[in-house]
């Protein structure tokens, strides 16, 4: 194996450590755009309806900063352990592309709203801290449509533009180049998205473009110095992020293995072909001719405001994980699933508050509630079965009033139909009084009488593996339509058969 060409190639590649930094844009949860009162709800809208003289750059208009965008950017910055700056400002970033109405984008440069910070990731159980360089505010661009057969720019005699998205507030989070594998990059984005959702800063949907990721990737030189960095864009899912990075690592290794040189450039990920393609030589900061935006006052955030932002911070994902483990005695895996979405975590906590035991409730939410949500494609916020009803159901299982099999059926029924728990219990055939004691013994007697051969095998001690016993137990459960408790049925059987 050591001598195969494949492994020697792999070991050559392994000598070049991977260095990844990410730039993540998240759309801030505001009703209106960053500098004008137009709606940010652009998806599916008729083109150029969410526009006004400001975002269309009609001469003579002036931008006016949305206060909520400042608050949300600061909040995200605090969640990332950044330092919020008392003073920052906006710059004009010039580039000639008609997706901008003004021919420049208003963004922050140099003095940004939040600086420094980190986020802790744990891909495949390996903890790592990824440093955040800064977070800044900027406006989104409009959308171009090219009237060509394939929708690409090449060959288009002209283009069409929709400015509905132009001016929508974004916060860009720039990491340090601290990630060393596609899995780490993926986990970083997952945790950033979770944080944005916990903080109500953004819905963080990658598919709809509320969260966009650009990656910078390079392979280190044998002497440990950084290699030439390539930027990858156009990855609109976590899967395509991972695939694009994997593709790029192997492409760069191949180029270097064959004695070639990596060109500093921007490459676009092609999801259908699963390749990255060269887009243009990478602009450097001087190409953008950044200069201060004189039409906007600087962003001043006082220490008092920063303290207010801090006080308004909700419980953060890692705080919730720690508390769930401590308060409810749950395992790491259980905690991870229950706290993945804060709405699910809240549902779980409300189930416990309504009297369900934490461990059993954790199982029910994790296994059954999530199963139904998956099957029906609904989110926990739209789940028709409230936490108090789930708590009642779990309590009935706990007190052995219902078998878990029947309780699961009831959960299914309640998630489909608008009926009460009592009605669902009645309909399931499980009587209010559970089959137990003498009534259960009667059924056991009947089953044994009907299966003399099996009974004989057990009594004579030939049921070494307990299979026959299980068979009888199954018949009892079937006969009682799940109204008996499985362990009680087993107890009654072994008492009768002396096994």
């Amino acid at each position: 194996m050591a001598d195969s060409p494949l492994s020697s190639k792999n070991s050559a590649a392994a000598k070049r450590p991977v260095v990844i930094g990410l730039e993540v844009h998240i759309q801030l949860n505001t009703k209106t755009k960053l500098f004008c009162p137009c709606s940010t709800d652009y998806i599916g809208r008729t083109p150029n309806t969410n526009v006004c003289p400001i975002c269309l750059a009609v001469p003579g208009t002036l931008p006016l900063l949305n206060d909520l965008a400042v608050a949300l950017g600061s909040r995200m910055g605090l969640g990332l352990h950044c330092e919020i700056q008392n003073y920052s400002n906006f710059h004009r970033k010039n580039y000639f592309y008609p997706d901008l109405s003004k021919a420049y984008q208003i963004t922050q440069y140099g003095l940004t709203i939040a600086v420094g910070g980190y986020i802790d990731i744990e891909p495949e159980g390996r903890p790592k801290r990824v440093r955040v360089h800064h977070l800044h505010l900027e406006e989104d661009a409009g959308k171009l449509v090219h009237p060509t057969a394939d929708g690409r720019l090449t060959g288009a005699a002209y283009s069409l533009v929709d400015y509905n998205r132009g001016g929508v507030p974004l916060s860009e989070i720039v990491s340090e180049p601290d990630m060393s594998s596609p899995a780490e990059a993926r986990d970083y984005v997952i945790r950033l998205r979770q944080l944005a959702r916990y903080l109500d800063v953004s819905d963080g949907e990658m598919e709809s473009g509320s969260l966009r990721v650009d990656a910078n990737i390079s392979l280190s030189n044998p002497d440990g110095s950084l290699g030439t960095r390539v930027e990858i864009k156009n990855m609109n899912s976590l899967k395509s992020l991972e695939r694009a990075l994997e593709y790029e690592i192997s492409r760069q290794n191949k180029v270097l293995d064959s004695g070639g040189r990596i060109v500093q450039e921007t490459r676009l990920w092609d999801d259908a072909e699963e390749v990255t393609r060269s887009m243009r030589s990478k602009e450097t900061a001087s190409d953008y001719r950044y200069y201060p935006e004189m039409d906007l006052a600087p962003i001043v955030i006082t220490d008092e405001q920063i303290e207010d932002f801090k006080r308004a911070m909700p419980e953060l994902p890692w705080e919730k994980r720690e508390r769930f483990a401590r308060e409810f005695g749950l395992s790491g895996e259980e905690v991870a699933i229950l706290t993945e979405q804060k709405e699910l975590a809240r549902y779980y906590e409300e189930t416990i508050a309504a009297g369900a035991p934490p461990a059993r409730a954790a199982n029910w939410v994790r296994m059954e509630v999530l199963r139904v949500l998956n099957e029906t494609g609904t989110s926990i916020s739209d789940f028709p079965l409230g936490p108090s009803v789930l708590a009642e159901l779990v309590k009935k299982v706990e007190s052995k009033e219902l078998s878990s099999t029947i309780a699961k059926d009831i959960l299914d029924t309640l998630s489909r139909e608008d009926i009460t728990l009592d009605e669902a219990v009645k309909r399931s055939g499980a009587s209010a009084v559970r089959l137990t004691g003498c009534l259960l013994d009667e059924v056991v007697d009947r089953i044994c009488a009907a299966n003399p051969g099996v009974v004989e095998t057990i009594k004579s001690g030939r049921d070494k593996k307990g299979g026959k016993m299980k068979f009888l137990q199954g018949l009892v459960m079937k006969e009682t339509r799940g109204q008996a408790d499985p362990s009680e049925a087993a107890g009654s059987l072994s008492k009768k058969l002396g096994a």
């Binding site: 209106t32 137009c38 150029n48 006004c52 171009l144 400015y163 006052a297």
Partner: protein, 87 residues
């Protein structure tokens, strides 16, 4: 100034532009020679505008009229000239 504006200058240009800027500054200094001892202070105050706004939606009543006057519409889109891609 060139550094602040992120403009790269050759050393010989720095000297030349330094002379020009000094000319401008000395011209500005002439303003200081004006005799304004009897000039009264401003009687009006600068109107102070808010530097931020609340996140409240507004609609633009003139949008359709504006769009109908635009020579560059195609359907609901604005039409923009050919973009020259570097490929």
């Amino acid at each position: 100034m060139a550094r602040a504006a992120q403009i790269r200058l050759a050393p010989e240009d720095v000297d030349r532009m330094m002379d020009s800027i000094n000319d401008i500054l000395s011209f500005c200094a002439l303003v200081g020679d004006l005799d304004c001892a009897d000039t009264p202070d401003f009687t009006w105050r600068m109107k102070k505008l808010p530097s931020r706004r609340l996140d409240e939606a507004g609609d633009w009543a003139d949008r359709d009229r504006f769009k109908s006057m635009s020579p560059t519409m195609e359907g609901d889109f604005f039409r923009v000239p050919r973009i020259h891609a570097e490929d």
